[in-house]
Symmetry: C2
């Protein structure tokens, strides 16, 4: 049986409107879905076992064999398959140079209990991380370094926003993500093996090269402006800092996480 | 003589409109100015010798002693000093939670000839870098590591856009920035001492820990999507790559630059 493809030619189309509603957090919560863009990202999602609820593409993108694989997979799972114009795709993604493929996926369960710490030697923990671009970039670095994923604490950003998904470049599908309160996290952490290493410019911090990282190692980063709260720093097994040679004494949190991940990876082997 | 402060209460005020025009590249080019936000950033600019052409603040921010220092400095240099409402400040910066201080600065000369390579052991070179957030983050990491700054090649982004200035967190004032074509850069580079190290996933690349970095070392990063062109890689003195353990074989360019800068810093001492 041939996949059934529906053509969408009007911006008023209700399915297109429903996809557009995934732009904001409320829309995502109500639908239980989030949006990812790009043939490469959707293909990586498929490789990791994630099939779209709804798949949308332009006629040009449809010709690509990887799009055909996405159509097949979506059809097998009884998903919705839509073809639309480049103009409407641009309207949906809000980008001038829109991708030819976009898809809505079911938001997975991101409770802490779903994290399997035995699957990786390195993890990131982010306290009150506000910028979805930073989150996505950190998750992407987890993929590059083979780290397990990111555990978001407290009032952190939504990991399924368009910006987060974009910055993660597909890592949202290959890595583990959880969201929890600080109290939940500390209880979970201490119920199993794990070394908690905080990144902070506090007095107790040692140079990041002097610390001995041990797997499973949880690298905890603080909020973009405020850094880690003192009470979180106090609960760490080690506190590290990067040398600061400039005038500003600050570093982007995703860059800091990247330097620590690559260094710890080097040591853990 | 007391500084003369002008109150701005209307969104139609021509001076406010002129500042708003700095949002886009054409406005910046015509005015020869760019906009920076935040008391901290403007204070760091002042410490580095940069005085605003125009200084704008809210009544609440005015009470801060650092704002007073900015007012004095602006007045001494015959700059324009403006007080406005939080609402108009928000309108100017397009941010919900706007800073209480913003200032317009003269765009400096960013020709390559202004770069003094003897002032630092490490430099970043970015080819066709498109994202101003990546540029600003890279410049901020230059500040943290004591690297000299960023040389932008070819069709790179404008280093004075609001996003670039925001992401640089003041590093735009403490670091050196230049823009040039690839041909200009290679001619300039080879007219003096310098080791050019490209970051690329090409066959010729060695693990970044295996390379011997020598000052002044120029770390060259490629475009976010395409990476470094083969003809640029061929002109490098060394080509390095970061190990990739994940599914995506990719890393954010600013994270990659951060890992390389901290590693090279470690080796150069």
């Amino acid at each position: 049986m041939q996949p059934r493809i529906t053509d969408i030619t009007s911006p008023a189309n209700p399915v297109l409107k429903a996809l557009k509603a995934l732009d904001d957090k409320r829309g995502r919560r109500e639908a239980g879905q989030f949006l990812a863009e790009g043939l490469r990202v959707c293909t990586e999602a498929l490789a990791a076992g994630h099939v779209p609820d709804t798949l949308l593409f332009t006629p040009e993108a449809e010709r690509h064999r990887l799009t055909q694989a996405l159509i097949e997979a979506t059809w097998d799972r009884r998903g919705t398959i839509l073809r639309t114009t480049p103009q409407l795709m641009q309207r949906l993604t809000g980008k001038d140079n829109a991708q030819g493929v976009a898809a809505a996926y079911a938001i997975p369960d991101i409770s802490l209990g779903r994290i399997d710490r035995s699957t990786a030697g390195l993890w990131l923990v982010a306290e009150n991380l506000k910028d979805p671009g930073n989150f996505g970039t950190m998750l992407r670095t987890c993929d590059a370094t083979g780290a397990g994923g990111v555990i978001l604490l407290d009032q952190s950003c939504d990991p399924f926003s368009v910006e987060a998904v974009r910055a993660s470049m597909g890592a949202l599908f290959s890595r583990q993500v959880a969201k929890a309160s600080g109290a939940e996290f500390f209880a979970w952490l201490r119920a199993g093996p794990g070394q908690l290493v905080g990144a902070a410019l506090s007095d107790s911090a040692v140079d990041y090269r002097a610390h001995r990282y041990q797997a499973p190692c949880f690298l905890m980063m603080g909020n973009e402006q405020a850094g880690l709260p003192a009470e979180y720093v106090a609960r760490c097994d080690g506190v590290v800092k990067l040398p600061m040679h400039g005038t500003a004494d600050s570093l982007n949190v995703a860059v800091c996480a990247g330097v620590l991940l690559y260094h710890a990876l080097d040591q853990l082997g």
